[in-house]
C-alpha cells in the first residue's frame, strides 16, 4: 500500500502495469472469461481484438473492477485490485478509462468534466485543476472548447474530451473500450490520432478495438481472444500478418 500513495511517478522495475492470472467471469450461465492470463508492461501498448462476445470488453472492465471477477488475480502495478482491503477508488484514479459511449457528464461544461475528479478525488485547487485540464484539452486539440457543453460537440470531439478527462488524473495507464465503435466513420481518424500521440509519448495502454490498421501500426503486442480465452498473442506483424491459429485466421478474414 505504501508505494501507492506516492503518486504516479513511481515506476518499479520488473512489475507489470497490469497482470491478470486465471481470470474467470460468468454472467449467470454465460461463462464469459474462462481462465485468462494477460499482462501489459509499463510503457507497452497492447491491443485486444476478437469477435463480439469473445469477452475482451469484460476483461478490460475487470481490470479496473467495473465488473467483479469470479476467480483469479488482477494486479495493478503489483497491487491486487480484488483484495477486499485494497483502496479501489485510489487504484482506479491511477487507471484512465475511455468508454465506447464517451460517458461525458452532460450537466457539466467540458472544463468541469475535466476538473471535477481532480478536485474531489485528488484534492487539487481550482487553479491547479483548471491548469491541468486546459493543458490536456490543448493536447487533444480542443483548447477552445473548454466552456462548451458535451451535447454541443461532435462524437469525435466528445471522445477526445473523454480522453483528456482521463489524462487529467495523471494516470499510470489508460484503458480504451472500443473507443471508436460509436463514431461515424469520418470521425474515427481524429480519435485515433490522439491515441497515436499518447502511445508515442510512452503511455501504457490497453485497447480493445476493431481497428486492425491502427492495431498493426501502434500496438507493441496484439492479443486475440475468442470464446473467453486468449487464443494467441504476439507482435502485430505475427498475429495479424501470419496468425498461427485457425480461429485467428478466420476472424481476420471476416473483418477484412
Amino acid at each position: 500500500m505504501s508505494a501507492a500513495g506516492e503518486g504516479s511517478d513511481v515506476v518499479r522495475e520488473g512489475v507489470a502495469a497490469i497482470r491478470v492470472e486465471g481470470l474467470q467471469k460468468s454472467f449467470g450461465a454465460n461463462h464469459v472469461l474462462r481462465g485468462i492470463d494477460f499482462r501489459v508492461d509499463v510503457g507497452e501498448v497492447v491491443c485486444v481484438i476478437g469477435p463480439s462476445g469473445s469477452g475482451k470488453s469484460t476483461l478490460l472492465r475487470c481490470v479496473n473492477r467495473l465488473e467483479e471477477a469470479d476467480a483469479g488475480s488482477i494486479l495493478i502495478e503489483g497491487e491486487d485490485i480484488r483484495d477486499p482491503d485494497a483502496d479501489v477508488d485510489l487504484l482506479r484514479s491511477r487507471i484512465g478509462m475511455v468508454f465506447q459511449s464517451f460517458n461525458l457528464f452532460p450537466h457539466l461544461s467540458v472544463l468541469r468534466n475535466l476538473t471535477i475528479a481532480q478536485r474531489r478525488v485528488r484534492g487539487r485547487s481550482r487553479e491547479e485543476a483548471e491548469r491541468v485540464a486546459r493543458g490536456n484539452l490543448d493536447r487533444v486539440g480542443l483548447g477552445e472548447k473548454a466552456d462548451a457543453y458535451p451535447a454541443h460537440l461532435s462524437g469525435g470531439q466528445q471522445q477526445r474530451v473523454a480522453i483528456a478527462r482521463a489524462l487529467s488524473m495523471d494516470p499510470d495507464m489508460m484503458l480504451f473500450d472500443e473507443p471508436t465503435s460509436a463514431l461515424d466513420p469520418e470521425l474515427v481518424g481524429e480519435v485515433l490520432a490522439v491515441m497515436r500521440d499518447l502511445a508515442r509519448d510512452g503511455m501504457t495502454m490497453m485497447i480493445v478495438t476493431h481497428e486492425m490498421g491502427f492495431a498493426r501500426e501502434v500496438a507493441d503486442r496484439v492479443v486475440f481472444m475468442d470464446g473467453g480465452v486468449v487464443v494467441e498473442e504476439g507482435s502485430p506483424e505475427r498475429v495479424l500478418g501470419a496468425p498461427a491459429q485457425e480461429r485467428t485466421r478466420r476472424f481476420l478474414q471476416m473483418v477484412r
Partner: protein
C-alpha cells in the same frame, strides 16, 4: 353528397349545437341571482388585502415547508430504496407504500391529534403542518426521485467511479444533479398537488393569523351567506397553480428537445 360535403355539414351542425346550448343557458339562467351570490363585488372588496397578505401567504408558506421537508425526506427514502443494504430498502418500501396508500387527511389527524394525545405533547402548529403534509409528500417524491436517479444512464456512474470517485461522491456530484434535472416537471406537479392539499389543514384548527386560502374563504362564506369568497380564493389558487403547470409544460418540451 361527397365525403367532403358530409364532413362540412357535420361540422356545421356541431358548431350550431354549441351556439344553441350557450344561448339557451344564457337565456334560462337567473343572472341577477348568480351575480348576487357568486360575484358580489362588495363582499369581494372586503376580502382584500387579507386574502393575499394572510391567506395566500399562509398557503404558500405551508406548501413551501411541506415541500422542503418532503424533498429532503423523499431523497433520503429514494437513496434507501436503492441501497444495497436490505433493511434500508425494506424500510423505504414500507414507508412509501403506507403513506401513498393512506388519505392525507388521516396523516394530518395523526400528527395533529393522535400523537399529541398519545404523548401528551403539543407541537408548534407549523411543525404539525410541515409533518402532516410533508410525511405524505415525501412518499410520493421518493418514488419520483428514485425514477429520476434510475433514468440516469449506467455509464455515468461507471465514468465517475473509473475516475476514482466513491459511490457516494459519484451520487452527489454526478447522478443526483442529473436525476433532478429529469424530474423537475414531475416534482413541479407534486408542488401543485401540495398547494391544493394545504386546504385540508383547516382540520388542525386555525386562528385568524393562520388561515390558509380555503378556510379563509369558507369562513367568509358562512359569515355572509354568499358564495363569492369561494370564487375569489379560487382565482387566487389559479393565479398560483396555472403558471406552475404552464412552467411544467415548457420544461417538458425543453426536456424532450434536449434528448
Amino acid at each position: 353528397m361527397t365525403r367532403r360535403q358530409r364532413q362540412r355539414v357535420l361540422r356545421g351542425v356541431l358548431y350550431a349545437s354549441a351556439v344553441a346550448a350557450v344561448v339557451a343557458l344564457a337565456g334560462l339562467a337567473d343572472w341577477v341571482l348568480l351575480r348576487r351570490n357568486f360575484l358580489d363585488l362588495d363582499i369581494a372588496a372586503t376580502m382584500f388585502p387579507d386574502v393575499l397578505l394572510v391567506a395566500a401567504r399562509n398557503t404558500i408558506v405551508y406548501t413551501a415547508l411541506a415541500f422542503a421537508f418532503g424533498l429532503v425526506l423523499g431523497l433520503a427514502l429514494a437513496l434507501m430504496r436503492l441501497s444495497s443494504i436490505p433493511p434500508y430498502r425494506w424500510f423505504a418500501t414500507v414507508y412509501i407504500e403506507v403513506f401513498r396508500g393512506l388519505p392525507a387527511l388521516l396523516t394530518i389527524f395523526l400528527v395533529g391529534f393522535g400523537i399529541p394525545i398519545a404523548f401528551q405533547t403539543r407541537w408548534p402548529v407549523l411543525l404539525q403542518i410541515t409533518l402532516g403534509l410533508g410525511i405524505v409528500a415525501a412518499a410520493y417524491m421518493a418514488e419520483t426521485i428514485r425514477a429520476g436517479i434510475e433514468a440516469v444512464p449506467r455509464g455515468q456512474m461507471e465514468a465517475a467511479r473509473s475516475l476514482g470517485m466513491s459511490r457516494g461522491r459519484a451520487m452527489a456530484s454526478i447522478i443526483i444533479p442529473q436525476g433532478f434535472r429529469i424530474i423537475v416537471p414531475p416534482l413541479t406537479n407534486e408542488l401543485v398537488l401540495l398547494i391544493k392539499d394545504t386546504s385540508l389543514l383547516f382540520v388542525l384548527g386555525t386562528t385568524p393569523a393562520t388561515k390558509e386560502l380555503t378556510k379563509f374563504g369558507r369562513d367568509i362564506l358562512t359569515a355572509r351567506a354568499n358564495a363569492t369568497p369561494l370564487i375569489v380564493v379560487g382565482v387566487v389558487y389559479l393565479l398560483i397553480t396555472v403558471p406552475l403547470t404552464q412552467l411544467v409544460a415548457v420544461l417538458e418540451r425543453r426536456n424532450a428537445r434536449s434528448r
